[in-house]
Amino acid sequence: MLYILCPHCGLRPQTEFSYGGDATVKRPELNKEISDQDWDNFVYLRKSPRGKHLELWQHISGCRQWIKVERDTLTHEIFTTYKASENT
């Protein structure tokens, strides 16, 4: 079970969080033309990197904030965690 440093609350067990996928995906802007391909890539296409990965977690049983977690998908090591508003 991972131990995740919530930038708002401190070190908390994984059971307090829910996983939210790749944090590097950026939603296309509203009201902007976008090709079918680009939209499909946004909706469906995700990388599955081996190693460092920036991902989203939500502290659902805590402060309810979405946070960004830099985690190694192979070793599960967690390097840095960021608030939603912080640049990585």
């Binding site: 991972l2 079918d36 946004f42 939500q58 659902i60 979405w66 599960h76 939603a84």
Partner: protein, 998 residues
């Protein structure tokens, strides 16, 4: 009268307390402090089971966690407990156990015929033989294999025992209470660290209990006792016996299973049988010790062949002789310790040492005791079927290839020692990159990935002096980093015998013309020849060899077989062991019961139960409840002998004719505030929200980015910047997370806050043509006329002294209102509604009637919004704005979503107007078409229409738009039904929606 193998004195058992127990139906006696294994051995019982593949007779091989053979089935507390190791099961009065894996009984076992047919059971036998024809699997192969193989049989009853979970945090978790565990725990505790010290056995001390050493001026055992009692008295230390740390997970999370009551005749009512500890440790000390390695020779699985350390343990801890004519077969000095213990109590052992000319203090002592020692000698094969009767022994040449001077000598046990294997399982689980240590022919931990340290013989350190020194130091060092304290500890002087080097030789060659089975894996019956065959057949990776031969894959996880297997592969392949590498160790180190893993989360405790504030009213009024997510909701209110069908029909009819009231507290509610709330809702919902006036509600549909409908509900503008959103009961948590995601990550510039208010409000839906009359009487001061409170209107009122929110919204399709009050006032509101509604014939209605009402109105709900449908499929396309952008809009132009024959919701009526259509039925064109019959869609919801008094269903079918009026078939293979049906509009009742606006 069975022979007695119990010594008159000695051991740590309580000879004042005699205990009776039953094994395979026969009654025996033992003492308090015995294990089932030691008590059986004391009674001369060596035959306890049959092996897995060949059903060969098997006895005891070890004395603890490594035991591969003595797996028994226990009857305890009126429950069965399969696959219990007799070497770990403590004796209690009335214990009842039996052998497993033998039929009809342990002495006459039909499966043993496999032993004589063993040419047909080589490595990979199952893979090779049972491949075809497929039909043979179910009828012939599987039943035979199942009957012949397998260990204990699990109970099919509900397990009534209690299991618990516990969470702990500590500075140091120390696994094992041998010298390294005790020393490190003591040092760390003295520095003020919070320590958890775990021992898997009932007695603390590990090897100190059986070794002849002196620490300071005490024996090893006395020293261990003193340290333990001191640790137990310290407030910062938790000491646990019967507790196995079995799993090392990420970020120093370890899991330990504590056998709280397994050693007692029965579990007390509020005491668990077992307890699972989840421990988050700053630092972990692995002091798990080492396990003796077997030597491999012919028939080395016969009952009576066992580890020399186990023989010593039975002698020193339990006062039990495993034999009276022992042979000690060893390649190192450990065997001599056992030999000396035998000699001391007057039994004459013969020592066969594979080494030519070893010299050490202990060998000298053995010689002085006149123990018969034969150097360069080996056991070639054990003789005797159900018990060892003699051994073929021989002199072995210096190159270990040639046997000579063969002779047969009588014996009743063969104690083997092939040196020691450090128990690196936990370190390996933690991600430690282990390394091969040439001097001990075994792997030891090397580079840590997590905060763990392995000490003592688990780290390949086999002298007590060095173990104590390094362990005291490590305990001090690790705790100092955490507590910033340093308490000086003087390391006691140690007296122990120094050992000479062990012999790398471990596998006795076969004598000419003989084809003895030489076992490596004793539980899965993997012999030397099986590994050789696998290698001949081209298997190279140790992971493949393991799976093909099942070496090390039994419940003992190869604790005694792994290294010998590796040595064999490296010999045949002409590689060194580190190149071969070891297989991955995975948790659990020892088997864990499913009960312990599940803990208290069984039955109604498997999820939380949420009840509305009106729950007890429902209960008092004969409600029959149904699980709705985590909520309990009334399904119907039973009157007299009514069943579900009759009651729900009555309730629904009363809503259509008079008025009903339904508890809608469970609906998800989200409070939305902030100046950008309207803009936010406009992005979240598919329809337009910018112009919704204060005091009005609107129905909305929200999508996921892939265009699939996520949820629906009404949202009301309470004031300029304040909205009250409702969601479906099931989706409430997901919708909140969804909103938070967009507010926090995608559009942080929007000034909006959302918070769940589900539990703050109790809700009652008052529905039916007479609902306005009820409402008027509830709020006499308010104008609730169609003009004063129109459809989708909202107002606040005072309900006999409590504040209420009134929404004119309808799920039933009737004129209806939802009244919300603060949860604490929920029951008060409910009772007032029932009281005032009496004159209008109000009746409460449950979820079944609620479903009926919405289905015949064609209102889509969870069964249609099933995570696979878009707005069009649900006839909600009218709510999709063409002008503005919103979450998921771009996906709706996907080709598949705009096909002209896209699926759509329709109504379905059976032609006979009698036969109910099972939910989940397929809609097909031709009931007699060849299978697989192409399906047009499925029935999503069914009810008995109270308006028309016939069955009615909703279905989502291909080209639904053009199917109205078609005669098709509903097929339910599950219920074996084919029903001719007509497709009609999904809006079966009041298609124009006049009632809600009346």
């Amino acid at each position: 009268m069975p022979e007695n193998f119990r010594l008159d004195q000695g051991g740590l058992i309580n000879r004042n307390k005699k205990i009776s127990f039953t094994f395979n139906g026969k009654k025996y006696f033992g003492y308090e402090g015995d294990t089932l294994a030691s008590a059986l051995l004391a009674n001369g019982v060596h035959l306890v089971g049959r092996s897995f593949k060949y059903h060969r007779p098997r006895g005891f091989f070890g004395a603890g966690v490594d035991e591969p053979y003595a797996i028994v089935q226990m009857n305890r507390n009126n429950e069965v407990d399969p696959n219990v190791r007799a070497t770990e099961q403590e004796l209690f009065e009335g214990l009842d156990a039996k052998s497993v894996n033998c039929w009809p009984n342990v002495n006459f076992d039909i499966g043993a015929i496999n032993n004589f047919l063993n040419k047909f059971f080589p490595a990979g036998f199952y893979y090779k033989t049972f491949m075809w024809p497929k039909s043979f699997w179910y009828k012939i192969y599987e039943p035979i294999i199942r009957k012949a193989a397998g260990f204990g049989s699990a109970s099919i009853k509900h397990d009534k025992e209690r299991y618990e979970h516990k969470y702990e945090y500590c500075d140091l978790l120390i696994a094992g209470t041998g010298p390294s565990g005790l020393a490190s725990a003591y040092a760390a505790a003295k520095n003020g660290a919070k320590v958890i010290l775990a021992e898997d056995k009932s007695r603390y001390g590990g090897s100190l209990l059986t070794s002849e050493v002196t620490i300071g001026n005490q024996s090893g055992q006395e020293w261990a006792e003193q340290i333990i009692s001191e640790l137990k008295s310290m407030p910062n230390v938790i000491v646990k016996n019967r507790s196995q740390v079995f799993g090392y997970y990420d970020h120093n999370m370890l899991v330990m299973s504590e056998r709280v009551s397994d050693h007692l005749p029965k579990t007390d009512k509020y005491t668990p049988k077992q307890r699972l500890w989840y421990i988050r440790a700053e630092e972990v000390v692995i002091s798990s010790g080492s396990i003796e390695r077997p030597l491999v020779f012919g028939n080395n699985d016969a009952p009576g062949v066992m580890l020399s350390s186990a023989a010593k343990e039975y002698l020193k801890i339990y006062g039990v002789l495993v034999g009276k004519k022992p042979i000690i077969f060893t390649n190192n000095d450990s065997g001599y310790e056992t030999a000396i213990e035998f000699k001391k109590i007057g039994v004459d052992p013969i020592v066969l040492d594979t080494r030519k000319d070893p010299n050490s203090e202990i060998i000298k002592e053995a010689k002085e005791l006149n123990i018969n020692i034969k150097f360069s000698y080996v056991v070639v094969a054990a003789k005797g079927y159900k018990k060892v009767k003699s051994a073929d022994i021989a002199k072995i040449s210096d190159d270990k290839k040639v046997l000579s001077n063969n002779e047969n000598i009588k014996c009743d046990c063969i104690c083997v020692s092939g040196f020691w294997t450090p128990t690196i399982h936990l370190a390996s689980q933690s991600g430690n990159k282990t390394k091969f240590k040439e001097e001990i022919d075994a792997f030891v931990p090397s580079h840590s990935k997590q905060k763990e340290t392995t000490l003592g013989s688990a780290n390949g350190i086999f002298t007590l002096e060095e173990t104590l020194k390094t362990s005291f130091e490590k305990g001090t060092e690790l705790s100092k980093q955490i507590t910033n304290k340093e308490n000086q500890i003087s390391i006691p002087t140690v007296v122990e015998k120094k050992s000479s080097k062990h012999d790398k030789f471990w596998c006795v060659p076969l004598p000419e013309g003989k084809n003895y089975k030489r076992f490596l894996d004793f539980q899965n019956d993997v012999a030397v020849s099986d590994i050789q065959l696998a290698l001949r057949e081209g298997y190279r990776s140790i992971e493949h060899v393991k799976r093909y031969t099942t070496l090390g894959m039994a419940t003992d996880q190869g604790k005694t077989s792994n290294l010998n297997g590796l040595q064999l592969v490296s010999e045949v392949e002409n590689k060194v062991v580190p190149q071969v590498g070891h297989t991955t160790f995975r948790p659990p180190y020892t088997p864990v019961t499913i009960g312990a893993i599940v803990g208290r989360e069984v039955g109604k405790h498997s999820k939380p139960t949420r009840k509305s504030p009106m729950h007890y009213w429902h209960e008092k009024n004969n409600a029959v409840f149904v699980d709705a997510g985590v909520w309990l909701r009334p399904r119907y209110y039973k009157q007299g002998n009514e069943n579900l069908f009759e009651a729900s029909k009555r309730e629904a009819k009363n809503v259509r004719q008079n008025v009903g009231v339904c508890d809608v507290t469970t609906l998800g509610k989200i409070d939305i505030k902030g100046p950008d709330s309207a803009e936010f809702l406009n992005r979240v919902y598919t329809n337009a929200w910018l112009k919704l006036p204060v005091g009005k509600a609107r129905y909305g549909v929200m999508l996921r980015e892939d265009g699939i409908v996520m949820d629906d509900g009404t949202t009301t503008r309470i004031s300029e910047n304040h909205y009250h959103m409702t969601t479906t009961t099931a989706q409430a948590p997901n919708v909140l997370s969804h909103l938070e995601y967009y507010l926090q990550l995608v559009w942080p510039e929007l000034n909006v806050n959302v918070v769940s208010s589900t539990e703050q409000w109790a809700g009652a839906a008052i529905a039916g043509p007479k609902s306005r009359d009820v409402l008027q009487k509830l709020f006499p001061d308010l104008d609730v006329s169609n003009e004063g409170l129109p459809f989708m209107g909202y107002m606040e009122g005072n309900l006999f002294g409590v504040n209420a929110k009134i929404f004119r919204i309808s799920f039933s399709g009737e004129l209806a209102y939802e009244v919300n009050v603060e949860s604490d006032n929920g029951n008060y509101m409910w009772e007032k509604i029932i009281e005032i509604g009496k004159e209008f014939n109000i009746q409460p209605y449950g979820t079944e009637a609620l479903s009926t009402l919405r289905i015949e109105m064609g209102h889509v709900a969870g069964s249609e919004l099933d995570g696979r449908t878009i707005p069009y499929d649900n006839s909600l396309e009218g709510l999709v704005s063409k002008k503005k952008d919103f979450i998921g809009k771009r996906s709706l132009s996907k080709k598949a979503y705009v096909e002209p024959d896209r699926q759509k919701v329709v109504g379905v009526v059976p032609l006979d107007k009698k036969t109910s259509i099972p939910e989940g039925s397929y809609i097909v064109k031709d009931a007699k078409a060849k299978l697989p019959n192409p399906k047009l869609g499925h029935v999503s919801a069914s009810c008995w229409s109270v308006e028309y008094d016939n069955p009615f269903s909703l279905a989502i079918i291909k080209d639904g738009k053009n199917m109205i009026g078609q005669k098709l078939f509903a097929m339910s293979p599950l219920k074996n039904k084919t029903i001719p049906v007509e497709i009609v509009s999904s809006h079966y009742v009041d298609p124009k929606g006049e009632r809600v606006r009346s």
